[in-house]
Symmetry: C2
Subunit: 660 residues, 2 copies
């Protein structure tokens, strides 16, 4: 069994090389706060919510039904939802084995995991193949529809669940099932097998990680084969074109992410894994360039990716409509996966910055405050309030402006299960020089530096609501080592307080003691002693942000931001003179900080001043001149974007027309 | 056989009542000019193009294959494409029976019509049912999938082809086939039959028109049943929702068009037909209101309808993105169908205005100048030039910025066939008072007023390139009567010249002699004699047009218009300092008129002045401030929107950012 102290325990990603070594659930414990609360919501509420729905809908029953010749429920990729939940349960059980939560110890998630594992195992065929929709008597034959069948995609999620289990409990029946499945995939799709790939990437990072978790090189080779095969037209291109599943260009040749956003990001994650394990710097740089170009021209202010409902896909450069943004929750999850891999490989702060933006404004936006309803798409504008009953039933992709309890395609809630339960594993890393804190959230860190020195830190902060982050050393094995705190790129005027001294921190970061630290971090090297403190002060002044002029869809608009949070105006509770579709904000002053408000969980609200627009009434909305601005200003309340639609149906907009 | 002189000859729509009586292909002859050239292109090139492709692809062969148990080609609604072509051939044969074209008399279209009719008849079953995809041995059973099967939709187009035939040649074998099919539909879906409707409306206007053409009231009743049944959830709502096929609300209750644009417009056309024939003013007003609200908030500057690729559908109010505009060619055809019906019913100039806008900027934009390639979607912005080979092959919906020779779903070319061949039938009408010229294009009109007086007019004009429209009386049966010329709503400063007098024409129009004429027309009542002339002078000054501030997607932009034409900037041939994605135009002066240019068929070009934008290079497209305007201005060429992409792949935009 994996030990808490070993280098892979409680980690979703364990690269053999790279600039940073990730710290896992055994080393980082989230305390109450923005991140800790979300991890708890995931582990205590969302996993149960997903299990209830999938039990009720028969998706869990599909495994037994397949073996027994019964009918199957849900879509052709429903198995993967059960696997995503299994991954979440594995992380949750692991976390609770270290520290029980208010809801108890590991018994509940452990029992759920075991029961689900037993169900899944029933449907595995003797050669390792496992899918409730294909292969069985009366079902479609295996691998006849690699474009849409999702068979390898489902294996990928099974394997990721097994990796989570290996890294929190060790070998067990589900791991055995996944190994047999992985062996089957290597047999079937190896060098001498079918030269096929899956329409939906996912098997690539899964196999790479299973290699990391087991040492079996065959899995890495297979992951590499799948990565290299793509882009050569092996998949029949449908009406969405070959770019839809990234089969238009080899991964090494592509310069930007395109097609279905989740597919593109999973593939890129797998390519980074393969590149890191094989020392393939060309492949790594190809993906890094794709990411840079995607962030520069195909990413929403929220970090959301995917501009089109059609194909759930990236659009062209600068095609970023706020109202029809897809910005799927799963694409947010996948973007975090990719950035975490690139961060560990390169140590560059930009990837941690992107994780922060995406986490606060996409991933955290999906679940309702109570964890029982979810956004699938995360648009930046909702023109009209949803119908009041919009969120109560199983729903197609939830573009209606209200969170839904479930979806016919329910990847998003299950992806939240596995992501939120493992949240602590995306906070910090270590290397020879010390510990890096990439995300600023209340937590304790206990780990051992590569040279064997035990170190312990306690991070205290009300971030993102307040801007002070205090790091207190709780354990230090002697001698100097470094504490690196990421300074977010938006933080103009930040300061580092250490040893009674206050130092300004510029965009490049600052280093105190020792050699120059990495850009974007405040780094202090010292012979730390328990009780020593370090303080980062981030000015959380609300600010207006303007779009690149090529983003046509939001020309002439501004968005309010404060710290890492994007804000929005919601129609609920606004001044009655203001309609969200016909106002302009006064940007002569920055938005005012209204402090924390009891509504919406104690979030900080902002306030600006806006004026209603006089609207034309001709019946034809195009004219030589359009009417102007009404003279009376009114206050406009702004709330964090991730909290919208928690007070009932509402119109909403992030981008606000600016008064000339 | 129908006679040229009777009240229905050569007319797609023949209402029993209404303010205006339409003039048909026998009464209006288009002369060379914008409309006449398009009718010729449709009748001489596009019908042949469609016949060639459908022969090659086996869509025509489907009828024999169904009867003989062979495989079927194309999509489940391919039969309807053959019927649309048959309708086009019927109109073309009718027109040529009156006047041969350079390509000969009616022999060629007549032979093609007869041959195709014989093919179609082979697949009719004894009870009248006719569909190559359903019903036959080995095919799906009939009427099991009303949502997607398109069976009644196909019947609708068969019937419209038969109506065209009845009104140009009289009873014949295709008419007999269509009557049997219509009888079958009434039997199957009548009061006592299946309470079903088709996922795609079309049977409604078809049955109403077959009633008009045959006098069989059963067809009108059935059309009424289909109209009234919709909106009660008879169709299973898929992931696109019940609004997709207008089954969310009864026609009488809806306030705006929504869902799939072509479906919505066909249904509305059928509802107007039923309302007019039954004297149901409530139903007529319901549709008129839907149209007004749609034009006020869901219509592009071009007249295009349909904001979303997903569901080929209308978006929310003011959701009108230029780049992802769907604005399907068929929706343009359908919008003309609806407006023509509303114009005949009400006599209101706004409907003729809308036909003009939609014809010049959507319908005319679809075919390439040579008539061998087509736009399916008609976006108002193309961000990057299409791949050079984008137009050569059968293509999915052709959103790639180049016209395609054919589509997997090829409704648009075939809809152009039937619309362009009948174009002369949308130009003029008559009533007790005289003749109304709704479209200003070179033509001759010969008809008989209801009181029996023969009248004849010749319209001479270079419109829309030049602004003078001269109407010369060629025949007049004595006594006073009225000539009414529509004055387009954009025409500020128009003048009417008659009898040596020049009169300004305001937005309300002008009346000379007799009682007040209808708003929006220049009307002269006189005891006309052959040789008398009337002249309308329309100032075609280029103008800038601005959007309603609620149209977020084009905030801060202007579009150039001249007369009825929307203009655009195309990347081909522009000053090298200008990139379409990063410029702002100087609107301190109106666009300059550059006169007619030999390129692009002698169209009038415009020229404006634009400045390149300085672009940020930070790698993240959001910042507190964005860079500004470069100082050097350069000339920006503007061409009529309908002509774009005729000079190879190009970026294009209608809406141009405006210099502050």
């Amino acid at each position: 069994m994996a030990e808490r102290g070993d280098g892979s325990w409680g980690r979703p990603v364990v690269p053999a090389s790279g600039r940073l070594r990730p710290l896992g659930l055994g080393e980082v414990r989230l305390e109450p706060g923005f991140w800790g609360d979300r991890q708890r919501l995931g582990g205590e509420v969302i996993v149960e919510h997903c299990r209830d729905w999938m039990t009720r809908l028969g998706w869990i029953g599909n495994f037994r039904a397949a073996a027994e010749g019964g009918p199957s429920a849900g879509r052709e990729f429903a198995d993967s939802e059960v696997y995503k939940l299994l991954e979440g349960l594995a992380w949750e059980s692991g976390s609770r084995s270290l520290q029980p939560t208010a809801r108890g110890g590991r018994e509940a998630p452990e029992r759920a995991f075991t029961e689900l594992s037993e169900e899944v195992a029933v449907a595995q065929e003797p050669d390792g193949y496992l899918n409730t929709r294909f292969g069985w008597h009366g079902r479609q034959a295996r691998y006849r529809d690699l474009e849409w069948g999702h068979e390898l995609y489902c294996f990928g999620h099974l394997i990721q669940a097994a990796v989570a289990r290996l890294r929190t409990a060790g070998e067990d029946p589900l791991v055995a099932v996944a190994r047999r499945a992985a062996d089957h995939v290597c047999e079937e799709f190896g060098e001498d097998g079918r030269a096929g790939i899956c329409g939906h990437p996912e098997i690539e990072p899964a196999l790479a990680e299973l290699y990391r978790a087991t040492g079996n090189e065959r899995y890495l080779e297979q992951a590499g084969l799948f990565v290299e095969r793509r882009g050569h037209g092996l998949l029949r291109a449908g009406s969405l074109g070959a770019a839809y599943n990234q089969d238009d260009l080899p991964v090494r040749q592509a310069r930007v992410l395109r097609g279905h956003a989740v597919r593109a990001l999973y593939l890129a994650s797998g390519a980074v894994d393969v590149a890191v394990e094989t020392g393939d710097s060309e492949l790594l740089e190809a993906v890094a360039e794709q990411w840079r170009n995607t962030v520069a021209a195909r990413t929403y202010l929220t970090g959301g990716m995917g501009s089109r409902h059609t194909g759930e896909s990236f659009g062209d450069d600068f095609e970023l409509p706020p109202d029809r943004a897809y910005a799927e929750t799963c694409a947010g999850v996948a973007a975090v996966m990719l950035c975490w891999r690139l961060l560990l490989a390169t140590g560059e702060a930009r990837y941690a910055d992107a994780i922060e933006r995406t986490f606060y404004n996409v991933v955290a936006a999906s679940p309702a405050l109570d964890g029982h309803a979810f956004f699938y798409a995360n648009p930046l504008q909702q023109r009209s309030p949803a119908a009041p009953d919009g969120g109560d039933a199983e729903s197609p992709h939830a573009a209606g402006g209200m969170r839904s309890r479930w979806f016919a395609v329910s990847c998003c809630p299950n992806n939240l299960s596995r992501t939120l339960t493992s949240l602590a594993a995306y906070v910090a890393s270590a290397n020879d020089q010390g510990v890096q804190l990439h995300q600023l959230t209340a937590c304790t860190v206990r780990t051992t530096l590569p040279d064997g020195r035990p170190v312990g830190l306690r991070v205290t902060t009300g971030y993102p609501w307040t801007g002070t982050v205090t790091v207190r050393v709780e354990e230090s094995g002697g001698g100097p080592w470094r504490i690196a705190l990421r300074v977010p790129s938006w933080a103009q005027g930040a300061a580092l307080v250490h040893d009674g001294q206050r130092r300004p921190v510029g965009p490049a970061g600052v280093t105190v003691g020792g050699a120059e630290g990495p850009a974007g971090y405040a780094v202090v090297e010292a012979p730390w002693r328990p009780g020593d403190e370090l303080r980062l002060e981030l000015p959380l002044r609300p600010r207006w942000t303007r779009p690149d002029p090529r983003i046509d869809a939001v020309r002439g608009c501004v968005a309010a931001e404060r710290g890492p949070l994007v804000y929005c105006a919601e129609s609920v509770g606004q001044d009655p003179s203001l309609r969200l579709d016909a106002l302009a904000v006064d940007t002569s002053a920055p938005p005012a900080d209204k402090g924390r408000d009891d509504q919406l969980g104690g979030a900080v609200w902002l306030r600006s001043s806006a004026r209603p627009l006089r609207l034309p009434e001709s019946g034809w909305p195009y004219a030589p001149d359009q009417d102007g601005i009404a003279s009376e200003a009114a206050p406009l309340a702004l709330i964090p974007y991730h909290l919208w639609a928690n007070r009932g149906p509402a119109a909403m907009r992030v981008w606000l027309p600016e008064l000339p």
